[in-house]
């Protein structure tokens, strides 16, 4: 019944004659959002037009991927993908393989991503970025021993990175308190880390504090870095904020984004939940209903965590939540994915008891 009503909502949106118009010749349309680093992108895009070399493609693709991880700029991921498709070089070129592997892991194509990283390890067994990415992927599929092996590649190269990588794995193995204490101590001894590393370490500490049921502490790890944080940490911050009764702050922060209506589904969903909690008129709720309806109609299986959240909160349906939680867990096994499985199972049990 819910699905039918969502379908009707979506179809009425696409068939509404009133929303169709014939523009004048001088009307302008935006093809892509701007990034804060737009000048850098523009300069590189111009350089690529002047000299369509692999080196320029790679630089621009790298910048697009970096940008795509920020809230509202997901489209840039596809520009990177498109650029890499035009890349004509040996498949063993390390920078190219690394970018391709990152794209694959972002799409949750973990086996392909790991296979690409193996090509790098054949050339450079202790390659820093490849090692960290391998560890990240193994954590995503809950292969903690293999994640530790990936961290171990860093031992002789950079002890700080090896330690952070290992403490994250220790936490994922269930020793949350040990890992948190050790990483907290390590972090306090490195006060001059640059932004990127600070964000990485604080993100891990936030997850560990959350697992220790210290939501407010977790928030304090994230709040100072929020403005520079990628979407994944905004999602974590949003979930913590909703759980600790800070819907108003979430609403205020997210509606201040310049491109609020192009936010990724996960962030839009949290914003819509905040809107609902604050009993505001449904605007973002309408947007997310349409987006989720489209996902269902398209029969997409990727990144199903958004659908689980949706059916647990805005459109409660324990059966669908349970279904999508299982679909999601087939590809991603992070603590948040496991938690979604547990929450939907609880919702299903509660429903059958009624």
């Amino acid at each position: 019944m819910l699905f039918i009503s969502l379908l009707m909502l979506l179809l009425s949106d696409t068939t509404a004659v009133a929303t169709q118009s014939t523009p004048s010749a001088d009307s302008y349309f935006s093809l892509q959002p701007d990034l804060p680093a737009n000048a850098e992108v523009d300069a590189l895009a111009e350089a690529l037009r002047q000299a369509p070399t692999n080196a320029n493609r790679l630089k621009l693709a790298s910048l697009y991927i970096k940008g795509s991880k920020m809230p509202g700029f997901g489209d840039w991921f596809h520009y990177a993908e498109s650029l890499l498709e035009q890349y004509k070089a040996a498949a063993t070129d390390i920078d190219y393989v690394l970018l391709l592997s990152d794209i694959k892991q972002q799409q949750h194509h973990f086996t392909e991503a790991l296979s690409l990283l193996d090509k790098i390890f054949q050339q450079q067994p202790q390659h820093l970025q490849a090692s960290l990415m391998a560890a990240r992927i193994y954590l995503a599929i809950a292969e903690t021993d293999l994640a530790q092996k990936a961290c171990n590649r860093l031992m002789a190269v950079d002890i700080f990175l090896f330690s952070v990588c290992s403490y994250e794995v220790v936490g994922r193995k269930g020793q949350w308190q040990t890992a948190y204490n050790a990483l907290n101590t390590l972090y306090s001894r490195h006060s001059t880390l640059d932004d990127a590393l600070t964000i990485w370490v604080r993100g891990i500490l936030a997850e560990q504090a959350e697992q220790l049921r210290q939501d407010n502490v977790a928030l304090t790890w994230l709040t100072p870095i929020l403005e520079q944080a990628p979407t994944s940490l905004w999602l974590k911050w949003a979930d913590l904020s909703l759980r600790t009764g800070n819907a108003a702050l979430l609403y205020e922060k997210m509606t201040s984004f310049a491109f609020v209506e192009t936010l990724e589904d996960g962030l839009m969903l949290r914003l819509a939940i905040a809107e609902q909690n604050l009993q505001l008129p449904a605007h973002f709720q309408t947007i997310i209903h349409e987006r989720m309806a489209l996902r269902l109609i398209r029969q997409d299986q990727d990144h199903a965590a958004d659908l689980v959240h949706y059916f647990l909160t805005l459109a409660p349906d324990p059966k669908l939540a349970w279904h999508w939680a299982n679909v999601n867990y087939e590809s991603a096994k992070e603590p948040d994915d496991k938690k979604l499985l547990e929450l939907s199972q609880q919702a299903l049990l509660a429903m059958t008891k009624e």
Binding site: L233, T262, L294
Partner: protein
């Protein structure tokens, strides 16, 4: 390589999970019937047409004049990527003149609505083959609304499922 070099190189590349979906590319095709011939209305995102290099610009903004100037290129693209058949014989497709094009906002994106007229030798057993934008649109899919006298149905066409109605073995 140590910390500063590493972070300068790779903030965008590693370490953080990406538990969020990227946007998917979706087009819509309404198939109806007029004077015993199929009539198509292809709704496609301007962004997707630009990604397929069909609008002649890679800039962030495009004018409607630039969009309509791409008529010939779009007509060729339609002709080579969308096929309508009748009893197995190919129908000819003609993209409407620019004066009949419109725009529509669908899910926070600007779509262009392109009417396409088909001419078939027979009014029986129409079928559609769709191969547009799969190479350049991220997980591109077509939401098909088929509304002719002989058949009323909705379907989702994707890279691994490009024909409607599907022929059963």
């Amino acid at each position: 390589m140590h910390l500063k070099q590493l972070s300068a190189l790779c903030f965008g590349l590693l370490m953080l999970p990406s538990a969020y979906a990227h946007k998917f590319s979706t087009a819509y095709l309404d198939v109806s019937e007029q004077a015993e011939q199929p009539v198509l209305l292809w709704k496609v995102a301007l962004h997707d047409l630009a990604s397929a290099d069909l609008l002649g610009t890679t800039k962030a903004q495009i004018s409607w004049q630039q969009v309509t100037a791409a008529h010939e290129q779009l007509a060729q693209y339609v002709d080579s990527h969308i096929k309508v058949k009748s009893q197995g014989a190919a129908c000819t497709l003609q993209l409407a003149a620019q004066a009949n094009w419109q725009t529509q906002r669908i899910q926070q994106q600007t779509y262009v609505l392109l009417p396409i007229k088909a001419t078939c030798h027979s009014k029986a057993a129409w079928s559609l083959s769709y191969n547009a934008l799969f190479e350049t649109g991220h997980s591109h899919k077509l939401l098909l609304s088929w509304n002719t006298q002989a058949l009323k149905a909705n379907a989702v066409l994707a890279e691994n499922n490009t024909v409607f109605p599907q022929v059963k073995d």
